[in-house]
Symmetry: C2
Subunit: 412 residues, 2 copies
């Protein structure tokens, strides 16, 4: 079967994204659709309705992951595409949703042309990818790929302290499914996603064939000093926790610059207490986000950071506590599948670049189960997790068409 | 008259401080007695009662500054001592109150021994020294020394946004007085105060003869960058407002170190927005507190800071707004009076050091009107603006006795 003879319909994709965008819509655009809220339930209900219309074999697992399977000639494991429908508190219409809607569109085209494929094809909506209301993020795909942690994930409490758990909220919204987590074998997994960064746009490239996900380390440092008067305390007598926090944040950039292009480092969170103009901070808290495509370099960056943090704390005589919040090593995607994506893009006449993903995605969890890769389409101004998040219609169209062609080549 | 033959009574001083400390008392010690609140009124009422018992000529001016005058043989301007009874939100029992209570104790001793002095002697309680509920700080003494700004001060709104003004609150608590602001001529002003810093304690010295108040500059910088994803945004494309804030805070310490002992610099306040782990800050706000005993050096420090802030903002391509919040030049006290204080301390057998004040005080406003100086007594661990603020009984006793002897020499 020649995949290039079938065209996806952009208008259907846009319409579904708009319908989803009305669920949890924010004034000024964007959505708030935190995992396992009423809004998440409404989006799931809509997806279920679409899956039913497409006559898919629907499965909902114990973590609320939703699957819709279209049978093939053979009964083997399906090729799967998908992503997530939950959002951050001020999210856009594309993050996650595009990957799910693209899967629905592939189903539409297959049904439209009555294509009987060799292998089954499936779409997925994974629970709580964002990790805002319940941690950790990528929860559904994590549990799917590692069923032995299922109970821990089900017992995760809401970060708002309401006492709700993943389990109680799944039950409340009616998505605590029967399918055992991880019981579904998958042949191949591909996730179409917006880039959420500026690289494709800046370089004028239409498609990213994502070959890996950067490793991510999050480390919290809490410094305990002594609050004293800014006017009456000589410099050499100070134990200024805020100063150390600032020095650490400044060092993180130096470290990234020293280590070069594959190392990034960010301090987005700095909190001082009491945070008054004329009082040295008694306590300061920073969380450092380090990422690298190379696992060994990332671990080395963390060692350098820990060493510098200790030196700075010692120099100011402030006490130091350290909490390792996240330690995700880099994940390599399947080289053959990445090449297939890049080659198919070129055949379609799209400009394409093999690139890493800076953000975490469900696909990185799936990579431990089966050949996996991702397709990126450009984000305008690189903006995401923001109501201004936007991806142009022609970019979405290219992404969906490429996903369709790659999938059809796999399942034909 | 030989002042050394009269002794102040520590027990009376301690008792009055304890009585004041019950007004606005906090659990665990300390007081909350914000200016022009019901607690401030209660403290003022108690002071009024004490002044009446001492048969003083009581004056309350338009800004609520309270004066109690003891006549002398001549009718000229009085020698005045005093400080303030208002506190910060979590204040101690000594900041301000000690200077007022010491004045009352001098009155007690003069009355006890029926001493008719040559000059009149007065005590003062200045309105809103702390500047917490209404800005600026040192409000009462500022208006007293500069009556042309009276209306602006009376119209100052409460920072809590309640709509109350200094004027409306003075009227509400019954301390909008009749005496025109600044109509009282003063011969000499001396303020006894706790040091609020660690220098005297660390050096094992009993008395500070305060020769000046450091100049104080407060400058707010607001950096406007672009929020972007910590994983997907290459370092060279970042406009990280939080990074610049951290670099500025780290530089302030470098600047103080470069300029040496008389220059201090503090960043007690850093605020990032949105302050999330994996998002570069779109906006960051810092307020820089620079102080120096030398006005020219202080101005130079500010120039160096401004230059560096511009460089750092430009390097990261973030926008910069600057607000000059406070520009107090250093205030020199009267050299002869400072020497008299130091000499009298030595005659009493107290160890003494001439030193600057790192904090602002009412005395710095009075210095524009008449010969002025201050006496410092040690603060345990240098702690102030804190319920743990403490000054030992023997240190208070030395401070009060020294103040008595200096005053008696002046008014005899």
């Amino acid at each position: 079967m020649k995949s290039s003879s079938f065209k996806i319909k952009l208008t259907r994709v846009e319409e579904k994204l708009q319908q989803l965008g009305q669920i949890g819509a924010l004034p000024g655009g964007g959505v708030s659709r935190l995992a396992l809220t009423d809004e998440d339930k409404a989006a799931r209900d809509l997806l279920l309705h679409w899956m039913e219309q497409l006559k898919l074999d629907i499965r909902i697992d114990e973590l609320g992951n939703m699957f819709g399977i279209r049978p093939g000639k053979t009964a083997g494991p399906p090729v799967m595409v998908g992503s997530h429908l939950d959002s951050v508190g001020t999210g856009g219409l594309f993050d996650g949703s595009l990957g799910v809607v693209a899967g629905l569109e592939i189903m539409e085209v297959l049904n439209e042309h009555n294509i009987l494929t060799n292998q089954p094809f499936a779409i997925a909506n994974f629970t709580n990818e964002e990790g805002v209301r319940f941690t950790p993020d990528m929860m559904g795909s994590h549990g799917f790929s590692k069923p032995e942690i299922l109970q821990d994930l089900l017992n995760a409490p809401a970060v708002d302290g309401s006492g709700a758990t993943v389990k109680s909220e799944l039950q409340r919204i009616g998505y605590a499914g029967q399918t055992p987590c991880g019981s579904l074998s998958i042949d191949t997994f591909i996730e179409l996603h917006i880039e959420q960064g500026p690289v494709l746009e800046t370089e004028g490239i239409q498609i990213g064939a994502v070959e890996m996900v950067q490793g991510i380390y999050w480390t919290e440092y809490i410094f305990q000093g002594v609050s004293n008067h800014a006017g009456t305390t000589p410099i050499q007598m100070r134990k200024d926790a805020g100063l150390v926090a600032a020095q650490v944040a400044a060092f993180v950039r130096q470290l990234a610059n020293m280590m070069g292009a594959n190392q990034v480092g960010t301090v987005g969170l700095i909190e001082l207490h009491p945070n008054l103009i004329n009082v040295m901070a008694e306590q300061a808290r920073v969380i450092i986000d380090l990422r690298n495509t190379d696992g060994i370099s990332l671990a080395q960056a963390q060692v350098s950071l820990d060493k510098k943090v200790k030196e700075l704390a010692k120099a100011e005589d402030v006490k130091l506590r350290k909490n390792e919040l996240v330690r995700f090593p880099p994940v390599q995607f399947d080289a053959k599948l990445v090449s297939q994506i890049a080659n198919t893009a070129q055949q379609l006449g799209y400009s394409v670049k093999q690139m890493p993903s800076g953000a975490g995605h469900d696909a990185q969890m799936m990579a431990s189960l089966c050949p996996t890769a991702m397709i990126f389409v450009p984000s305008v101004d690189g903006i995401s997790h923001n109501i201004k998040e936007f991806t142009k219609a022609e970019d979405m169209e290219r992404g969906c068409q490429l996903l369709f062609n790659v999938v059809l080549d796999l399942i034909s």
